[in-house]
């Protein structure tokens, strides 16, 4: 009888014993979860995703947690929606429903800023390879430069599914991607000021053309999907889903589906995705030297993205005889609509009569298409090289 009671107490003390014996990494990750809670709740840093990620991390690092073991709730969520890429794609349907592409259609040339804004991806890829990451790891890290969380998760998880990168790395990449997306308002303005002159920043641009016909708006997602699917079929799930969301919105005939995509579906997918990603952040797997490198390289990727866009803006400024404000280049990343608002604020700071918002929105939606396109092309090239 006494033995049974002692065994019972022993079972209750197992968690504490584990923590003392080998729980160091878990304790650190519990502290990391605490920092993420603080950032999400007190600072409003991407709370929609950071909060569930932090909670998943919290759950996965409690002593003897079996939530990521087979049949554990976090593992079930992971297998149900991340292992097969479903959740990032559902979020993409929502993003498509939320995005208004008409500023881009009003001035399609702004799409080129969306290409220049991906320079950080390719620069970081070279850097990651030089630092000793494997090809698949380097591509995954470089994708942080897409400034687009679901794209990073989609690409990295593809490699994790093929056992080419550790599953824990997906968590690190996701947290890095969302953290830097949230830090765009802090990171971009100094780069904008460093790379442009006061005269360039004050350039006033004429109002955009205005309305776009409904037929053009409806044809847009079909044309984009068909062209990009033809060139880079490996990225069709990404582009197809974002354009599906937009198609439903602009068609105007399925308001319930469009509304569900941008609300219920996107919200549920975000919650489950965050929890499952957080679940991969077990201290024993997560706390590696490479994780720190991932965060460092991610920062470089975002900085080079911004610089690439602004440099194209400066070339454009020179070629147009000073009619294009080079700040627009900073909006050529996927952080929508944050980057566009930053360009508007920065433009107004140097010229109170400057209204760059609609141009910047065009460049920003171009950045969304550009980041997905860059990922799609990378995956297709990898397929062509026989790596995936």
């Amino acid at each position: 009888m006494l033995d049974a009671i002692l065994s019972g107490f022993d079972g209750l003390a197992a968690g504490g014993r584990y923590l003392l014996a080998s729980g160091g990494p878990n304790v650190i990750m519990l502290a990391v979860a605490g920092v993420m809670f603080y950032l999400a709740i007190a600072k409003g840093v991407e709370p929609l995703l950071l909060l569930p990620i932090a909670f998943g991390c919290f759950l996965a690092n409690l002593p003897l947690s079996d939530l990521m073991q087979e049949h554990g709730v976090l593992r079930t969520l992971y297998d149900f929606g991340i292992g097969n890429e479903l959740f990032p794609l559902l979020i993409f349907v929502g993003i498509g429903s939320m995005t208004d592409f008409s500023p881009l259609l009003a001035n399609p040339r702004l799409l080129l800023f969306g290409a220049a804004g991906q320079l950080g991806i390719f620069f970081t890829l070279l850097l990651a390879l030089a630092l000793g990451f494997t090809k698949e790891e380097a591509v995954s890290v470089a994708m942080i430069g897409a400034c687009d969380g679901p794209t990073v998760i989609f690409v990295s998880n593809l490699f994790a599914g093929l056992h080419k990168i550790p599953t824990a790395m997906v968590g690190a990449l996701a947290v890095a991607a969302y953290s830097y997306m949230a830090l765009v308002p802090v990171l971009q303005p100094p780069i904008m000021r460093l790379l442009t002159t006061e005269k360039e920043r004050a350039v006033k641009m004429p109002a955009t053309r205005g309305r776009i016909s409904k037929t053009a708006l409806i044809a847009f997602p079909l044309v984009v999907t068909a062209l990009t699917g033809l060139i880079a079929p490996q990225g069709l799930p990404l582009m197809g889903m974002i354009m599906l969301g937009n198609f439903m919105k602009v068609s105007g005939v399925v308001p319930r589906l469009a509304s569900a995509s941008e609300n219920e579906i996107a919200n549920i997918a975000t919650l489950f995705l965050g929890l499952a990603i957080g679940g991969t952040m077990n201290g024993h797997d997560f706390l590696k030297w490479n994780t720190l490198l991932v965060f460092g390289l991610g920062l470089i990727a975002i900085v080079v993205d911004t610089a690439g866009g602004i440099l194209l803006g400066k070339i454009w400024y020179a070629l147009s005889g000073g009619k294009v404000n080079p700040l627009l280049g900073a909006a050529g990343i996927s952080a929508y609509p944050m980057a566009a608002r930053l360009v508007q604020n920065e433009g107004q700071r140097w010229n109170k009569q400057n209204h760059l918002l609609m141009h910047a929105m065009g460049a920003n939606t171009g950045g969304q298409i550009g980041s997905v396109m860059a990922a799609a092309i990378m995956l297709s090239v990898l397929k062509g090289l026989g790596i995936i």
Binding site: L104, P108, Q118, L129, S213, L227, T228, I369, I377
Partner: protein
Amino acid sequence: MTNTTFGLTMLVVGMGGTLATLWLLTGLLRLLTRMFPVEPKPVKPAGAADHA
């Protein structure tokens, strides 16, 4: 394939491909907006009364 070859291939084909695709798309979007311009609103004759 060495890492250097891989990296440079991705840089050239990846960045070049992204730029080329988006440039092509720019052309298609311009075509699209020209093919389907905004229908002009019917102009009311001067002095015509509104019927609410």
